[in-house]
Amino acid sequence: MRCEIEFTLNGATTQWAGEAGRKLLDVLRDEFALVGVKCGCREGECGACSVLMDGVLVNSCLVAMGRLQGCEVLTIEGYRLTERFKVLDRALANRSAVQCGYCIPGMVLAAEALLAACPRPSDAEVRRGLSGNLCRCTGYNAIAGAILDASKEGEGLW
């Protein structure tokens, strides 16, 4: 079924018309060229396609476009313009926490969702917050450590 919707994409009001069942992941990548949103499995397991939908972390491969009416969608391309991103950027850079990089856009948005809900998390809380985002390279130590660093450095931002 076709739908015509209006939603906010990285801060900009956006009209979209098309099949309601089309997946947000495909639309973001193919129609809006937001290729920072990665496709790792297309079945909601890996988290590489994570975006924030009204502040909630979702796998964009599982979100049908028809659900987006009135929603705010934030991808890495929007988030990277924020002060919070800069803090996470420095923290991950300082720990060389980015290896192949494929999980990172989703992982960063998972970190944002976590810190927004829990600005001073414990190590265990960080690991729970990242548990929907697979990383095959790092063993998670550096990423988790960087998010803890960011939560301290970003005092007041979250």
Binding site: V35, C100, I104, V108
Partner: protein, 715 residues
């Protein structure tokens, strides 16, 4: 700590962090041709007839008849065809492709192809295998005499399963003929492997083929040889596409089911012990090669060379076979044959110690090789064997001795614990004389008029950080800022062949060539002038020449070393296990970058823990891989382990840059043996001689042990 070890911001950090790094799948999918494979649903069958559906305008099929070169993919040997011709040899064997402008339509058309087959008998298990692609034998000393004089003889079998690389970015490529040159862009580890394979399949002269590595989202060996097949297939398609780009980006299921994995293995060990010392080993190693040889000979060589472990075994007989089955061809995965044999030998040593009433660690210590001893292949350990110091560090960090003693007491609570330890090495670089005879690596540095220096090598950064470590080396020698070093993804039209990104060789071998090139550039530096320096590989002069016929001599210029301790807890009601702690110490020589090195070690340890516990991949009675997604092939998440603790022990290697040696594969290799040793202690059984250890099997062991039954290998 050496000055070079101080960490810097990685060269590729910013682009990857902000989501602007461009992977091959990120190229626009509009305006290109898409492709869908027609794959065999049978493990072994004769192709009677292929009937293509009527193809709409703009769509075409590609199969063996379109191959303009040879229907053969060059890996080590050339038996792997580009497209099946008369027979299919595994489920997924590619018969052809449908290429056209719309991806959904190509998939529908490929599914509508009618292929009639005559099914043939399929061999799915290596116990039923009739053909050994490779059958190697080597040894030294007099095993017969050692066994006849032994106080004790022990004999056991070991088994390991598949492991899927599960890199987050699936394999993919785009091929296009532009200005008479066939360009293939892709996610790959070894541009010149792909280059040679594409040339052979297309018949094009090498100067008309260009391979470009795009940002690669993890490899771990999985993108070492398979891209040669995919590039050959897409190259043939691109020649037929007359200038249009042909794209193939695998979905996760296609990637997991049809690309290469770690070889499943079975090993048989027979060990002679006299006066507390291992005097002889007879080892029989069998790897499941799958349907074609691909990388099996070299994986098997590394596996059998490592098979006696870190011990000085004077009398040795080793046989290794890579057996043909009608299953997906197996290939490279971090560790390259060594994780399978280290799993066997380390548990074997644990079990012998237990049978002798000794502490496993003490027994292992008493048998350790040391500097100057002969290696398994009658070469030498030319450099110190730092395991004793490394063991002490891991014991202290893990509180191993106290925990081992505490968990040895009978455990009858619902939650049980165990702790295990293993010791290992990883031969740094290619096995044997490959660097000298086959690879002959060349690197180049190009300085521009502004004084910036570009690194030109064929080595790919798939996340392990060579862009950064290479740049640090060159900046350090030249005394110029790290920011003035330029390094792009390799493009074979620009970079010399510095060899594959494999075998933990990049930093040690290519990094050293870059260091030497930088020293020369500094000597010859002309301010304001463009300059180019090339450096060629030279073989270390201390090596005992390696003979592959007899497996004698120095198989590796040096070794990296590992000690790992794993502590586990088991829920006896569910059989579920939990990693309570993981402490390791690694010697990879001087760290070219501390944070990168530690990141490699942590990531490798976690892959080893996954291999031991949850990463189970099985085939059904028809030869089909039953679990081909992240939903049913589980890899560790952030909550599956606590903080992994890694220590670095620096034992400098004079042949590597500033003392660095092979690093990337090492951390995974010995983890499974430590894991199972911990499981055996927790469950109070001996002989869990296989990985992965599932919850279901754990419950079997628990019910067996309640009856006091000592379970030997169950499969």
């Amino acid at each position: 700590m050496h000055k070079i070890s101080t960490s810097v911001i990685k060269k590729d950090h910013a682009a990857k962090m902000g989501g602007s790094a461009y992977y091959v799948g990120d190229y626009p999918s509009k305006g290109v041709l898409h492709s869908s494979f027609i794959r065999s649903p049978h493990a072994h069958a004769r192709i009677r007839k292929v009937h293509y559906p009527a193809l709409p305008p703009g769509y075409f099929s590609v199969d063996y008849r379109d191959i303009t070169g040879e229907n053969s993919v060059h890996v080590v040997l050339d038996d792997l065809p580009v497209f099946a011709q008369e027979e299919v040899f595994y489920i997924g064997d590619a018969i052809g492709m449908i290429v056209g402008p719309d991806a959904e339509t190509t998939a529908e058309l490929a599914a509508a192809c009618e292929v009639s087959y005559e099914e043939l008998p399929a061999i799915l298990d290596i116990n039923d295998a009739e053909t050994a692609f490779f059958d190697y034998h080597y040894g030294r000393g007099d095993t017969e005499r050692a066994f006849s004089e032994a106080d004790h003889v022990f004999e056991e079998d070991f088994e390991t399963g598949y492991q899927e690389q599960a890199y987050l970015e699936p394999q993919g490529m785009i091929a296009q003929v532009e200005n008479d040159v066939l360009t293939v862009r892709g996610s790959l580890q070894c541009p010149y492997y792909v280059h040679r394979a594409t040339a052979k399949a297309t018949g094009l002269p090498t100067e008309r083929i260009r391979i470009v590595q795009e940002v690669t989202g993890g490899g771990f060996g999985g993108k070492e040889a398979y891209p040669s097949l995919l590039a050959a297939q897409l190259g043939v398609a691109a020649l037929k596409a007359k200038g249009q780009a042909v794209r193939c980006i695998f979905g996760r299921r296609e990637d997991m089911e049809f690309t290469s994995k770690r070889h499943p293995s079975r090993c048989h060990y027979r060990v002679a012990v006299k006066e507390g010392r291992v005097t002889a080993m007879e080892i029989d190693v069998r790897f499941n090669s799958g349907a074609f040889t691909t990388l099996s000979p070299v994986v098997l060589q590394r596996g059998i060379i490592a098979s006696p472990g870190v011990y000085n075994v004077e009398n040795l007989q080793v046989r290794g076979r890579a057996l043909r089955t009608h299953t997906v061809p197996n290939g490279a995965y971090r560790g390259f044959g060594a994780p399978q044999t280290f799993f066997a030998v380390e548990l074997m040593m644990d079990h012998i110690a237990a049978s002798l009433g000794q502490d496993p660690l003490e027994f292992k210590r008493a048998n350790l090789a040391k500097q100057g001893d002969a290696t398994s292949t009658s070469g030498r350990y030319h450099f110190p064997v730092p395991l004793p110091e490394m063991i002490e560090r891991v014991l202290a960090a893990s509180d191993y001795a106290n925990k081992r003693a505490a968990y040895a007491a009978p455990q009858d609570s619902l939650y049980r614990k165990g702790i295990g330890l293993s010791l290992w090495f990883h031969g740094a670089g290619f096995t044997g004389a490959g660097e000298r005879d086959l690879i002959k690596a060349v690197v180049a540095l190009e300085k521009n008029a502004a004084g910036q220096v570009e690194i030109l090598t064929a080595n790919t950064d798939m996340g392990q950080g060579v862009k950064t470590t290479f740049s640090k080396i060159v900046a350090h020698e030249l005394g110029i800022p790290y920011e003035d070093i330029i390094i792009h993804n390799p493009d074979t039209s620009r970079v010399p062949d510095s060899g594959p990104t494999a075998a933990s060789r990049s930093l040690m071998v290519v990094g050293e060539l870059l260091r030497r090139a930088a020293i020369r550039l500094k000597e010859e530096w002309c301010e304001g002038q463009p300059q180019r320096i090339e450096e060629h590989y030279t073989h270390p002069d201390y090596l005992v020449p390696f003979n592959l016929e007899t497996f004698s001599g120095d198989a590796y210029p040096t070794f990296a070393w590992g000690v790992g301790v794993v502590e586990l807890g088991f829920d006896t009601l569910t059989g579920a296990n939990e990693v309570l702690g993981s402490w390791s110490c690694f010697d990879i020589g001087t760290l070219a970058d501390e944070a990168i090195a530690v990141g490699q070690m942590e990531g490798g340890v976690l892959q080893g823990l996954g291999y031991s516990s949850m990463e189970q991949m099985a085939i059904d009675g028809r030869g089909r891989i039953r679990n081909n997604s992240y939903s049913d092939y589980l890899i560790p998440t952030s909550v599956d382990v606590p903080q992994l603790e890694v220590q670095m022990h620096v034992c400098e290697y004079p042949g590597g840059p500033y003392g660095a040696k092979g690093a990337g594969e090492l951390p995974l290799v010995g983890i499974p043996a430590a894991f199972i040793a911990a499981a055996e202690q927790a469950l109070g059984v001996r002989g869990i001689n296989h990985i992965p250890l599932t919850a279901e099997e754990t419950l079997d062991y628990l019910s067996g042990s309640q009856h006091g039954k000592d379970k030997e290998s169950v499969r």
